[in-house]
């Protein structure tokens, strides 16, 4: 560490040619492994301090209570992999939750109340994607604008009234499948499907190509514009799915935008190994990062960190994870 050289920042070379399964695993999923190691370390340490940490209830709180963030981070990961960003996702989830809750209370069948946020999310993000792809406005500009519009619009329309009296059937996040809480199932299934799709489908591979070098991708015949819109639409669908979990977790829906949700989702995606420059990263990483944050949040309460210092420790842990990954890459070069 003392002998830091001023090397130009090199993009991690694809190490597929290197021999050995473990090395390849480490090369392909290095950041994911760092995050996983951090999660395991936390679990070991905190469980030694207070064994209740690994009680079934607490595992449910950690894995299930934050699943909506992980689901939203899947879409965010795809957007960032293609070299874009979305700072409006928190506001979008707020808008979609209000739509979903209003429909449920108005007596529509619950499947409509569940489907609506997904479809509306896809529609809104199709507009955002089109502005990014065809009008060539940088995604941060479009989504900063969309953030203001949706946040202001939500308060204008709802006047801030909460939605109560939700029908019990609607509250899917409180149910379980085969003994597992629904949010956990959503998170795992969607992560696995998205990971496989991004790794093995031609479409998924093309996202990395666009993020790595859009011009080169265009030259090899990838329809960059259409793919960009498609990625935003898929991201909208994931935001809609995240909304279903978000809106049905409690018996009331707060009609304001959850504070700082977009930062949490973006942080999960980037800490999980998505290079903000695009071209690398996996949704497994973003889901693991969400779990890491949830674990940190819970762990710090369990080990009695002074509540005043809680956020400083969270920041330090995030920074440690980032630096550990950078040192790992440095070590490989």
């Amino acid at each position: 560490m003392s002998a830091v050289v001023d090397l130009p920042p090199t993009r991690p070379a694809s190490a597929a040619q290197r021999p050995g399964f473990l090395r390849r695993l480490f090369a392909d999923y290095g950041q994911e492994l760092v995050v996983l190691a951090a999660i395991i370390a936390l679990f070991v340490v905190v469980t030694m301090v207070n064994p209740r940490f690994i009680s079934a209830n607490n595992l449910t709180t950690i894995f299930s209570g934050n699943a909506y963030i992980a689901v939203a981070a899947i879409g965010m990961t795809m957007v960032i992999v293609t070299g874009h960003i979305d700072v409006s996702v928190g506001a979008l989830i707020g808008v979609l939750a209000t739509i979903s809750g209003t429909l449920a209370v108005a007596g529509y069948p619950v499947w409509i109340a569940w489907l609506a946020p997904v479809l509306v999310g896809m529609t809104i993000n199709a507009c955002i994607g089109a502005l990014v792809a065809y009008a060539r406005i940088p995604s941060i500009v479009v989504t900063l604008g969309a953030l203001s519009i949706m946040r202001g619009g939500l308060i204008s329309v709802t006047g801030g009234t909460w939605i109560t009296n939700l029908p019990p059937d609607f509250l899917i996040a409180q149910k379980s499948v085969l003994g597992l809480p629904v949010p956990l199932v959503f998170m795992v299934v969607l992560t696995v499907l998205a990971a496989l799709w991004m790794r093995y489908s031609a479409f998924g591979r093309s996202l990395y190509a666009i993020g790595g070098n859009a011009e080169a991708a265009l030259a090899t015949g990838i329809p960059v514009e259409r793919r960009t819109v498609a990625v935003f639409v898929i991201h909208g669908a994931f935001a809609g799915l995240a909304t279903i979990l978000f809106a049905t977790q409690l018996q009331v829906i707060q009609s304001t935008v959850p504070p700082n949700l977009e930062l949490t989702v973006i942080t999960a995606a980037v800490i999980g190994g998505v290079s903000i420059l695009g071209g690398s990263g996996t949704v497994i990483g973003s889901t693991l990062a969400t779990i890491l944050f949830a674990t940190i949040g819970s762990a710090l309460i369990f080990v009695n960190v002074s509540a005043y210092w809680l956020r400083a420790v969270i920041g330090l842990l995030i920074l440690a994870t980032v630096l550990a990954d950078m040192l790992r890459r440095r070590g490989r070069i």
């Binding site: 940088p138 946040r151 619009g153 956020r311 400083a312 630096l323």
Partner: protein, 314 residues
Amino acid sequence: MNWKSLLRHETFLALLLVAVLIVLSFQSDRFFTVSNLLNQGRLMTEIGLIAIAMTFVIATGGIDLSVGSILGLTAILTGVFWQKLGLPLPAAAAGAIAVGTFAGFANGAIITRFSVPPLIATLATLALYRGLAEGISQARSVRGYPDWFYVLGQGEVLGVPTQLWILAAAAIIASIILAYTRWGRTVYAIGSNEVASRFSGLSVEKTKLALYTASGFAAALAGVIFVSRVSTTRSDMGTGIELDAITAVVLGGTSIFGGRGTIAGTMIGLCLIQALKNGLSLAGVKGDGTIMLIGAVLILAILASNLFERSGTR
């Protein structure tokens, strides 16, 4: 990108600002008065200082999300140094600004030494610095500063709010540096092509380190001004200010990918946002309507200027 296309966005934006000012002064006769406009200048100083430094950072293709947290940390430290450590207030404020500047330096060091992308590094320090502010303050406010201290945030010099002089000076110095010095050209070069800049012998790492340090300094200075304006310190000061500053910078025509942008553009963008916030409120539009409109203006302004540019240069 040539100079002409650069100028085009700023010209367009300036025309838009003039149009907005005219429309808003017809909406309310209390809008276009000297006292109101000067007062608006007072309210936009903190975001303005941060946006000026952010223009440099974004022009290199970087970003600094930790500015709001640095602002909060500086505010807290000003109070703590003064009240708990018993330092004289000027020394306390200077010490707090020094720490804020160091926080910016730390960002720069993480980014350049460890090659961490700026977004990730400053997302992490965003949480860290805010956490330090909360931990050091123990959620207590420090109040009751001597009256002379409020001159900075609430007083006037020659009829103009004190902090507006600071903002004006910062804007002029920054424009000169960015437009006319070798250092300013290095900023654009890094933003256009970092690898090429490095190979052509420009001191990329040093420049970036200096920029993030400057960004920390700007946020710290804004923090002290903020304390003087609201006469108290709280650990949650400046939350979300990073997005306001970034909005002003990108509205001002600085490319988020780096390589282009001017201080003039940023200042016009800043004035446009402030004029809309204030003018619409005077015209009877509620806060939620105003933020919706600002969002729409942001998208449409960049869209329009993109269309002009394409028809002009292609």
